[in-house]
């Protein structure tokens, strides 16, 4: 470590190679830091809890054909009643949407009737008193809807309900002091107040895109069964009965009424399928970034091995002279390791600046957060270790050079 000066002098004679290695390390660090950061962001997004009890949940997307919206009411009630009787089914509801569905209802909520601007943005879930148990939502304050609070509603003219249940996140947005239970709020453009009778721990919105990130857990549950030609049937099965219900439920529904369509591709699926398909792109991006990182590190390591091997080959004679003059094998080894450490340090210093610069640029171009310095630190350590590891094999070869080589002419 103390022989830095001769190393610097030697490096001056290999300017091009030194600069190339440093540059490669810098570029690799900049790309790997940002890629790791993107991977972590995507994985965080995938890991967000929905608030649903996700196992044993079957989703059927139902569309009525040749039935007016008004006439769907009795049919939907019939479906839900029949599903609740079906063997293997614990509970079932007809609902407008669900977390990660990809599409649903959104609106603003006001605290005072005269407010021009809404206090918080939210999604709306409509169903009966079986909604919370079927979804597996955890009520942390207040109560569930009672059957007499539930009414039918036309999907294109939904009224304002007297009672609503909201999520904890929305409660906090509306009443930061924690006093939401029992308060009245105004959903959408209505003049009629709705009383908050219950608070649910968590329920995600139907969207996973970034436009809903700021209010990802804001939901209002309303006690309406929507009369609508495109409803969703959400079925909670008994443990282990999921596959059986996935077959029996559609068959039973068709027997009940043929005036319906289940879309071919994703008409009937488990929630696990839905989650996988919705996050497929995020997972794909994370995997791609991971592969790119690994390959980049591999190529950089190979480059260091190649260039150092060449330097060792070129300096066999000098190494021999040093050995003959009393340098130990360890001295030679540490010479090459130190040399690499010096180049690597310059590389990672430039690379760290480039990583931050690249991130700042990415922030302006894409929806992305600021890079946390921890990633840069991890990247710096990783690349320095990689460099030391890569240089080890050629350096060992160098240390095995015999002193007698000093006397050979080639």
């Amino acid at each position: 470590m103390l022989h830095i000066k001769p190393i610097l002098v030697a490096l001056k004679r290999h300017k091009a190679g030194t600069i190339l290695i440093a540059m490669q390390i810098a570029l690799t660090l900049a790309i790997v830091c940002n890629a790791l950061f993107i991977i972590d962001q995507r994985l965080d997004r995938i890991a967000r809890p929905t608030g649903l009890d996700e196992s044993n949940l079957v989703i059927i997307r139902n569309r009525w054909v040749g039935v007016t919206d008004e006439a769907t009411g009795p049919l939907i009630h019939g479906d839900v009643q029949a599903l609740r009787q079906l063997p293997g089914v614990q509970d079932a509801i007809s609902i407008n949407s669900y977390p990660l569905a990809g599409g649903g209802w959104s609106t603003g909520v006001r605290v005072n009737v005269d407010d021009k601007k809404s206090k918080a943005h939210t999604t709306l879930y409509f169903s009966d008193e079986h909604m919370l148990p079927t979804m597996g939502a955890r009520l942390i304050a207040g109560r569930n809807f009672t059957p007499d609070e539930v009414t039918d509603a036309k999907a294109n003219a939904v009224d304002t309900p007297a009672v609503i249940i909201i999520t904890k996140a929305l409660a906090h947005d509306l009443f930061p002091d924690g006093s939401a239970l029992g308060k009245s709020v105004y959903v959408s453009d209505t003049k009629k107040p709705s009383t908050i009778v219950g608070i649910v721990e968590r329920m995600q919105v139907p969207w996973n895109s970034s436009w809903a990130d700021a209010w990802a857990e804001n939901a209002v549950f309303q006690p309406y069964v929507l009369m609508y030609s495109g409803n969703v049937l959400l079925i909670r099965t008994k443990p282990g009965q999921q596959d059986a219900v996935m077959k029996s439920a559609p068959e039973m529904l068709f027997k009940l009424n043929r005036m319906r369509v289940f879309p071919k591709e994703n008409g009937v699926r488990t929630f696990a399928n839905q989650r996988e398909s919705i996050y497929k792109r995020d997972r794909g991006m994370a995997i791609l970034m991971g592969v790119v990182c690994l390959v980049l590190l591999g190529i950089t390591a190979a480059g260091i091995v190649g260039l150092t091997s060449f330097w060792v080959g070129q300096r066999r004679k000098q190494i021999g002279v040093r050995r003959a003059l009393g340098a130990t094998k360890r001295d030679i080894l540490s010479y090459f390791l130190t040399e690499n450490l010096l180049i690597g340090t310059v590389g990672v210093l430039i690379g760290a600046l480039m990583a931050i610069g690249m991130n700042l640029w990415l922030v302006t171009q894409f929806e992305m957060a600021r890079l946390s310095l921890a990633y840069v630190a991890i990247g710096v350590v990783a690349l320095l270790l990689l460099g030391q590891g890569a240089v080890l094999a050629p350096a060992m070869r160098a240390s095995r050079v015999q002193p007698v080589e000093a006397t050979r002419s080639v």
């Binding site: 190679g17 993107i38 497929k280 790119v292 260039l307 060449f310 070129q314 171009q365 080639v410």
Partner: protein
């Protein structure tokens, strides 16, 4: 001479197989990754209607109330029924069409086919001539059929194949949401990319299977899908969508010359002023008239992830190239002795330089071919992805050529520095040290 250099290059490359393989692999990976992402980007940022897109414009006016007004902001990205109809009936452009999307239940006459839903477009008669939509059988509808809310339908080739076995189905009846429609036209394959005329119905989705006059769709209460953006007292009530303060329709015009474009913009300004005088519009006049490609740009149609991947891939290629420069430098300098002999025997600097460039060119070519295979593999992987543009990711001739030029060009560039350094060797010094 070149064949001699080629021979020398191959010999030298064979001498150190590991190093050669490493260089070729690095180039191949860099090229493969950048070509895959570049092809996807190229496909996604393409012109949906080459040749015609320059004369297609998307007029925007701002009918919203004063609340929430911020100067300089874009007007709404769609129009209301009232404005759409006013602009349509003004007929100030060479062609104009008002439209929105939807999803309709089809009830085939054949008892063996279950009813199913298809994507539909509700539009006005000039949609077909304006967008140069090709017809296989029959034709579109006319102004009088728009006015009469005629029960007529134009269907896609795929739907015609499915329902009528590909035969000329004009004159046949198709039941849509319990109403009998007469098929008057069948489209030939038509898939503009992106789905530019309505970006809310999937930016890269296929064009619709069912086309119905807009007026008819309202009369038969066909459901409308896509974006509905309301303000003030607007509740998005489907049944009274004509009078609601909501934007939910797209309006396109064709303007064949620059003077017509300027005149149309003036017309939009006058229209807005007039509506403001009537009290319908409240905000200051704010009109836009982007041409098709501009409109796609404003809406950032190309997904951010795709651009990000392209940048990443090019960063990756850069590292691969720096790596190759380093390795080639090592390799060439190691052969200083050999090059010294060649120089001493009379080869000029230039000849040595060319010889070394040929060697890097060979590596570039090999890397390019391997990279091309990787790109084909990469695009196949992209096509397995669930996104709506996945099926479009194919390598075309232009991209194929670009790949080769990029591979060979970049390795030659990477070979420049090492070759230049190596030919600086003074023959005498090298020979002496031997």
């Amino acid at each position: 001479m070149l064949s001699y250099y080629l021979d020398l290059a191959l010999r030298s490359l064979r001498r150190n197989k590991m190093l050669t393989a490493l260089m070729v692999l690095a180039i191949a990976l860099g090229i493969g990754a950048s070509m895959t992402t570049l092809t996807v980007l190229h496909v996604l940022s393409g012109d949906p209607l080459p040749g015609t897109s320059a004369s297609l414009f998307y007029p925007q006016v701002d009918p919203r109330e004063l609340d929430g007004y911020e100067p300089g902001k874009e007007p709404p990205s769609q129009v209301t029924w009232i404005d759409g109809m006013n602009l349509l009936h003004a007929k100030r452009a060479d062609h104009q069409a008002l439209m929105t999307g939807g999803s309709v239940p089809l009830q085939p006459n054949q008892s063996n086919v279950d009813p199913f839903y298809s994507n539909a477009r509700y539009t006005t008669n000039e949609f077909f001539p304006m967008f140069h939509v090709p017809f296989l059988f029959g034709h579109g509808w006319s102004q009088s059929e728009d006015d009469a809310k005629a029960r007529v339908v134009v269907i896609s080739r795929t739907l015609n194949d499915k329902l009528f076995g590909g035969k000329d189905s004009t004159g046949q009846t198709l039941r849509i949401k319990d109403v009998a429609f007469q098929v008057i036209g069948v489209l030939d394959t038509w898939r503009p990319n992106p789905h530019f005329y309505d970006l809310y119905m999937g930016r890269y989705s296929a064009s619709e299977d069912v086309f119905v006059p807009l007026t008819t769709s309202r009369d038969t209460r066909l459901e409308h899908d896509g974006s509905t953006d309301c303000w003030g007292s607007g509740g998005g009530d489907e049944e009274h969508a004509e009078t609601q303060p909501c934007v939910w329709l797209q309006f396109w015009v064709q303007l064949d010359s620059a003077t017509k474009v300027a005149a149309y913009k003036d017309f939009l300004t006058h229209y807005s002023q007039e509506q403001k005088a009537l009290g319908r519009f409240q905000r200051p006049v704010n009109v836009r008239l982007p041409v098709l490609m501009e409109w796609l740009d404003i809406n950032k149609v190309v997904p951010g992830d795709v651009k990000l991947q392209t940048w990443l891939a090019f960063g990756f290629l850069l590292v691969c190239l720096v790596n190759t420069v380093g390795l080639m430098l090592a390799k060439f300098l190691r052969r200083a002795g050999e090059l010294g002999v060649r120089r001493a025997l009379g080869a000029s600097k230039r000849e040595v330089f060319i010889q070394l460039l040929v060697e890097s060119g060979v590596i570039g070519l090999a890397g390019g071919i391997a990279g091309l295979l990787l790109a084909v593999l990469g695009l196949w992987l992209v096509r397995l992805q669930p996104s709506d543009y996945a099926s479009l990711a194919h390598l075309d001739l232009k991209m194929l050529l670009t790949t080769f030029l990029l591979a060979v060009g970049s390795t030659l560039l990477a070979g420049l520095l090492p070759a230049w350094r190596a030919c600086q060797i003074t023959p005498a010094l090298q020979l002496k040290s031997q």
